[in-house]
């Protein structure tokens, strides 16, 4: 049996596991199951090993609970007690729900983070395979620079990468009650909708916290909520037995405060906008304000009530979106944050306001031209530009006699010029020209280096890229050790140098042999060798200097 020091939190009889009857025990730190009549536990798992639990849906005949471990294993328990199966299963589930979060190890979170990073970045994954799996450097060194800070505020970091999901304005309308058949309505509430309601109407959330679970169950609370007139269109002020009538009063207060605060945008006069026009195209006329409520018709007042409801709802949704996950505990700050104006007033600090005013009142086209003042360029030796940065070339001087001779000759030759296109060149000249232009001819030398990426097969190119990435990573670690100030860096330098040597042995040499076997004469690894050699030279220099300092 279990050790006596373990506290047993729950015992469930008649639980089958792998078609065997037995009893399920939930302890302080683990969950265990033993078959009927036996003393030992055949199945026992720490809560820390369990990733999550699953239950079978309500309609199924078999009432089951499944545990998924971190290793991927699944263990299923079948609650076989006819009368109390569902209750037992639910009790076990609730207890597990409370216990599992306590035992989630932080180390597993780290593993998950590492897995996530490796999955998201294929280059990183390849580097990991090249370096750690082949034992060139150890896993800790690999992750040393990359994780940093995962342990501390991982949840916050993770959240910062994700965007906050806003509230849909139509969440209340989306609830869409269905008729139950016999004069009742069925509302489907999901956790999302509940969250939206709480975020938008903090008053409702407060009511919930006050009443559930002391006075009402969750189901009763929501039933009352939907029944109350608070929820329905026409909010007539009902008697005070409705717990939501307070909420209605609070909403009225909130709305009034919003209206009083008004819009803080100095460039916009909201009160001047009006719906009453004289006629089309004739502008706005402000009607006589009727202050007595009795003058309004019933239709007008119900319309205005609905419009007020809508405005209030929209304002609350916007305000909830701008609160950004802060938890509001005091009621005092409720009304102040319910106005979406706060962002607007922030926008109108003096410099921003000035910029906006300028934008609205000035036209760039009509400003005078303000060209920056320039200094004129005065060149003393402008003849230098005539020849430009061209080196002196030996000029062949022609004597005037030469010139005269040449010109006369050309006169003579070209005065009777007739194109003779059938005798342009001899065939020997042509064939020697063709020979010079064919591949291998005197004019075609030096074309080979351009085609190197076509001559090397793609898989070798891929391998070379991986080699470069891995070598780069190792060299980065190595060169970051210099200048060597601390004993930690000294150790690291020595270790990195041995890593580089190991990399050269295990990865670079086989690759070189491979390409030699394929008769590729190009030197693909020359640069890599140079980089490694530079690292070795630096190491030797550092070592000799260290020796000299010690002696």
């Amino acid at each position: 049996m279990a050790s006596l020091s373990e506290e047993v939190l729950l015992v469930v009889k008649k639980v089958r596991q792998k078609k065997q009857d037995g009893t399920l025990y939930l302890m302080a730190e683990r969950i265990a199951w033993g078959p009927e009549g036996k003393d030992r536990f055949t199945v026992s798992h720490l809560y820390a090993d369990i990733r999550c639990q699953k239950i079978s849906p309500d309609g199924k005949a078999k009432v089951q609970l499944q545990l998924v471990l971190h290793t991927g294993e699944n263990i299923t328990f079948h609650f076989a007690n006819e009368s109390t199966a569902v209750k037992d299963r639910d009790a076990a589930k609730e207890l597990l729900q409370q216990l599992l979060p306590k035992f989630k190890k932080k180390a597993n979170k780290e593993l998950e983070e590492k897995n996530r990073m490796l999955q998201e970045d294929p280059v990183l994954f390849q580097l990991y395979k090249d370096l750690v799996v082949s034992q060139v450097i150890s896993a800790e060194e690999f992750w040393a620079n990359r994780l940093g800070g995962v342990n501390n505020t991982d949840q916050a970091l993770y959240n910062n990468n994700k965007q906050e999901v806003g509230i849909s304005g139509a969440f209340l309308a989306d609830i869409r009650p269905q008729t139950d058949g016999c004069n009742g309505l069925r509302y489907n509430l999901t956790a999302d909708i509940i969250e939206s309601i709480f975020r938008t109407y903090p008053a409702v959330k407060q009511k919930y916290c006050e009443n559930v679970p002391h006075n009402l169950t969750e189901k009763e609370f929501w039933t009352r909520f939907f029944q109350s007139h608070y929820f329905h269109r026409d909010r007539l002020n009902t008697g005070t037995q409705d717990i939501f009538s307070e909420c209605a009063k609070q909403d009225e207060k909130g709305l009034k405060s919003m209206v009083i605060q008004g819009v803080k945008n100095p460039l916009l006069n909201l009160l001047a906008l009006d719906d009453n026009t004289l006629d089309e195209g004739y502008g706005v006329c402000s009607p006589q304000p009727s202050t007595s409520v009795a003058n309004r018709t019933v239709k007008e007042s119900s319309n205005s009530a609905i419009i007020k409801r809508f405005n209030h709802h929209s304002a609350m949704v916007l305000a909830a979106g701008s609160r950004k996950g802060e938890t509001l505990n005091d009621q005092g700050s409720e009304t102040s944050s319910t106005d979406g104006n706060s962002r607007d007033s922030d926008c109108f600090h003096p410099p921003v306001k000035k910029a906006k005013l300028q934008e609205a009142t000035e036209y760039d086209d009509l400003q005078g031209e303000n060209r920056p003042k320039t200094v004129p360029l005065n060149l003393k030796k402008s003849d230098r530009y005539a020849h430009g940065p061209v080196p002196l070339q030996s000029h062949q001087y022609t004597t005037s006699q030469d010139i005269i001779n040449s010109v006369n000759y050309i006169h003579h030759e070209m005065s009777n010029y007739k194109p003779n296109l059938t005798q342009v060149m001899s065939s020997t000249a042509a064939s020697s020209a063709i020979a010079a232009l064919s591949p291998g001819g005197i004019l075609m030398q030096g074309g080979a280096p351009q085609a190197i990426h076509q001559m090397i097969p793609t898989d070798i190119q891929g391998e070379l890229k991986h080699l470069y990435v891995a070598a780069g990573e190792l060299l980065r670690h190595y060169w970051s050790c210099f200048p060597v100030n601390t004993p930690f860096l000294e150790e690291k330098v020595i270790k990195m140098k041995s890593n580089l040597e190991r990399f050269q042995m295990t990865k670079l040499r086989p690759f070189q042999e491979k390409i030699q076997r394929q008769y590729l004469s190009t030197n693909l690894t020359g640069h890599l060798e140079e980089m490694l050699q530079a690292a070795y030279n630096k190491f030797h220099a550092w070592q000799t200097r260290r020796m000299m300092r010690k002696t």
Binding site: N378, V390, S400, D402, I403, P419, M425
Partner: protein, 297 residues
């Protein structure tokens, strides 16, 4: 994909410097200016024969001016009366050849003897070619696209005074996506090497001048899209080093004045071209500290 109506314009700039060619006649009698012009005509005819929508222009670069050999104003006026030659040649080709021959005869017969300018005006011819290309591109029909390139056949040596204009022309060609190819007969030209490298053309120095036609047809007849399918001589390394303004030596690292952009090999506190004064912080020379050796007993 080139459609049937896409125009490919080839502008050939031939260096007909009479002084160089006159001397060449004495050096190598089997390759004279006549032969060179024949080879150019062969290339021009081949280009026109490749596709009906191909266009050709030939510019002769002289030391006094640069002239259009084809198309000329006279050809537009006459309408080609004397274009029928007896051998059944395609009329466009024979018209082209006749015009070119007539023009070159006229130009060279009018050459005067002048001593002060013996250099070929290559930069000017390049500029003329660019302007012609620009004009033709404006005269295209709606929806037609034009690809143009310039082939420079160079005989005489580079003239350093044309450097600025030449570079301007090269960059203008690069902006307009016009290739500049170069076929050099005698001495290597650094300017043309740069031009070919910048615009993406081919540079070729002929080992044999006699076979000029063969080289032209092999290397320079195809346009830029077709060149990627052919095996052509590889591009050589271009020496882009600049020469300093003070000594005219090629330098790899130098000092450039930020006001006038003139290049110097050593630092001087005043730029000699624009007389701007500069201050530069030289690194303080750190004397190596002598380490005190501890006496260990």
């Amino acid at each position: 994909m080139a459609s049937d109506t896409d125009v490919s314009l080839l502008v050939i700039v031939v260096d007909v410097n009479p002084i160089w060619w006159g001397q060449q006649a004495h050096r190598e009698p089997e390759f004279t200016l006549a032969k060179c012009l024949d080879a150019v005509m062969v290339l021009g005819n081949s280009h026109l024969a490749m596709t009906r929508s191909n266009k050709l222009a030939v510019i002769a670069s002289h030391c006094q001016d640069s002239y259009f050999l084809y198309p000329t104003k006279k050809s537009a006026d006459n309408g080609g009366d004397e274009s029928s030659s007896g051998d059944g040649k395609y009329e466009l080709l024979s018209a082209t050849n006749n015009q070119m021959a007539e023009e070159i005869r006229e130009i060279l017969s009018k050459t005067e003897v002048r001593g002060n300018s013996t250099d070929t005006l290559l930069a000017a011819s390049l500029a003329k070619a660019l302007c012609y290309i620009h004009r033709v591109s404006k005269e295209l029909e709606v929806g037609q696209e034009m690809k143009s390139r310039i082939l420079v056949i160079k005989a005489a040596e580079d003239c350093a005074l044309q450097y600025m204009n030449f570079m301007n022309g090269i960059f203008a060609a690069q902006k307009q996506n016009i290739l500049i190819d170069a076929c050099v007969l005698a001495s290597d030209s650094g300017l043309l090497q740069q031009a070919c490298d910048i615009t993406g053309g081919l540079y070729l120095k002929l080992p044999q001048k006699v076979a000029l036609a063969q080289y032209l047809l092999w290397v320079f007849l195809a346009d830029s899209e077709q060149r990627s399918q052919l095996v052509l001589p590889p591009t050589a390394h271009v020496d882009y080093r600049a020469a300093c303004f003070c000594h005219r030596n090629l330098i790899e690292i130098g000092y450039v004045c930020s006001v006038c952009l003139s290049i110097f090999c050593t630092f001087s506190p005043i730029c000699t071209t624009c007389e701007t004064a500069f201050k530069i912080q030289l690194r303080q020379m750190v004397k190596p500290k002598k380490k005190k050796l501890k006496q260990q007993m």
